[in-house]
């Protein structure tokens, strides 16, 4: 099915390329919103979330042949995205803490957020806002486990960190989130934490 180009290397014919493109759109593009939401909350404000996600998808497209159909495409894409974030901002462990002024900016809606579902309780926005004030290490592990519902093993693979590290960061992230909610004196669904 492969034809040879002038240099002798094999290239896909038009039909195969179309099929690959359709397969990519069906399997990978499905998770675009999830990746963009995560990037908005994790990569900002140091990095442009849309740039990060676009580069993630272009890398995924380049290596789509190495993706095994039927395996977890969402986890694969998240792993690529964290590699992009890591490459752009240095090693995850050496990230610089965000100055307080930028933390305030983080509380504002990312530019591509159209609106929040009005049926969702306002307290949810306070939890989101508090979560974005966590340190990057805590924020990313909390997002991957709580929002994306990845298993510890999957998160460990995505972040290229030991499972024990994931668990301890997660524990601290939850405790810190709770502390922020208490400090802010917010009430979550009628229960004061």
């Amino acid at each position: 099915m492969f034809e040879l180009n002038k240099s002798g290397s094999s290239v896909m014919n038009k039909q195969e390329r179309l099929s690959r493109q359709q397969s990519f759109e069906r399997e990978a593009m499905l998770h675009l919103d999830a990746l963009l939401k995560a990037a908005n909350r994790i990569a900002r404000p140091r990095l442009d979330a849309e740039d990060v996600v676009q580069e993630t998808y272009l890398r995924a497209w380049k290596h789509f042949d190495s993706f095994e159909a039927g395996t977890n495409c969402r986890a694969w894409l998240f792993r690529i995205m964290f590699n992009v974030i890591k490459a752009r901002s240095g090693t995850l462990a050496k990230r610089i803490e965000i100055p307080m002024e930028e933390e305030v900016e983080l509380e504002n809606r990312p530019s591509n957020v159209l609106f929040f579902d009005p049926l969702k309780k306002i307290e949810g926005q306070e939890a989101l806002s508090a979560a974005t004030r966590l340190s990057p290490e805590h924020r990313e592990v909390l997002w991957l486990v709580v929002v994306e519902e990845f298993s510890y093993r999957e998160v460990a693979e995505i972040l290229e960190a030991p499972v024990g590290t994931v668990m301890s960061r997660l524990h601290r992230a939850r405790r810190e989130l709770r502390r922020l909610l208490i400090t802010d004196s917010k009430v979550v669904s009628g229960v004061r934490l």
Binding site: F24, N112, V113, L114
Partner: protein
């Protein structure tokens, strides 16, 4: 299991990471210990609140989606083997002078004929027609419209903001309804993209924005792009493009009907 062991394992229980035996022990302890049960409920509530808020957030991913698909399409195009990069065939250059002159004259005549009958329009920015057709194709699947706005009040707010129009276009006379919308970047300009659905036809897209550019002219313009007909008009200070799988005449009729209402 006692309270100390529960405290150590409560996070694993919360995240479904405990094995069946430990899960059962944990449940038995939680049933009999109000203190540990309360701790679990607080953690559960915190997680649920965060998860629901994050998932309830509606974002506009259209710009990134269009950028990714466009980059992939360009790459795929570049990879196509044996593709002709010269727009003139190579044997053109081997021809004698007089047949080349005759062919060029014929080309000019054909171009003029096409321009007069509206098949090819010099001066019309065809990229925006191709871009709206691509955006229509990208956003008309149920999956692609997930997360789009379908609340009518919110859509009215969006159309006021994008096109300074107070009412949502009504296509019920043509059998289309249930509009969903999102703001999309097309041809370097932001449009409100409304998708309307029909019981037996493919979805139809309207692209609207307040007129402030030369992307769309006041003259009704129809172009065929991919599998779609794209008809544009600028009326009442609004740029409107209609994309559908209907015939050019049908798409033009819908565009005219919408344009006449824009002038009211």
């Amino acid at each position: 299991m006692n309270c100390g062991e529960t405290k150590d394992l409560i996070q694993l229980y919360l995240d479904n990471e405990l094995d069946a035996r430990s899960t059962l022990s944990m449940q038995q302890h939680l049933d009999s210990c109000s203190g540990c049960s309360r701790q679990l409920n607080i953690l559960l509530l915190q997680d649920q609140t965060l998860k629901q808020a994050a998932r309830g957030e509606i974002i506009d991913s259209s710009r990134v989606r269009a950028g990714i698909l466009s980059a992939i399409a360009q790459e795929t195009q570049a990879e196509t083997p044996h593709q002709t990069t010269n727009w003139l065939p190579t044997h053109w250059f081997k021809m004698a002078a007089w047949p080349r002159i005759a062919a060029a004259a014929a080309f000019v005549l054909i171009a003029a004929f096409l321009a007069l009958r509206g098949g090819w329009m010099p001066g019309v920015n065809e990229t925006v027609y191709a871009a709206v057709a691509a955006d229509h194709a990208a956003h008309c699947s149920a999956d692609a419209m997930m997360g789009a706005v379908n609340d009518l009040d919110e859509l009215r707010r969006l159309i006021r903001a994008s096109a300074k129009v107070d009412a949502l276009p009504d296509l019920s006379a043509f059998g289309y309804g249930n509009p969903q919308g999102r703001v999309c970047k097309v041809g370097n300009a932001e449009f409100l993209h409304l998708v309307y659905y029909h019981d037996s036809q493919s979805p139809l897209s309207l692209f609207l924005r307040h007129h402030d550019s030369t992307l769309v002219t006041e003259q009704l313009t129809a172009l065929h792009s991919g599998n779609f007909n794209v008809v544009s008009i600028s009326q009442g200070g609004v740029d409107l493009l209609v994309v559908s799988s209907l015939t050019e005449d049908q798409t033009s009729s819908i565009t005219r009907a919408l344009a006449s209402r824009l002038l009211q």
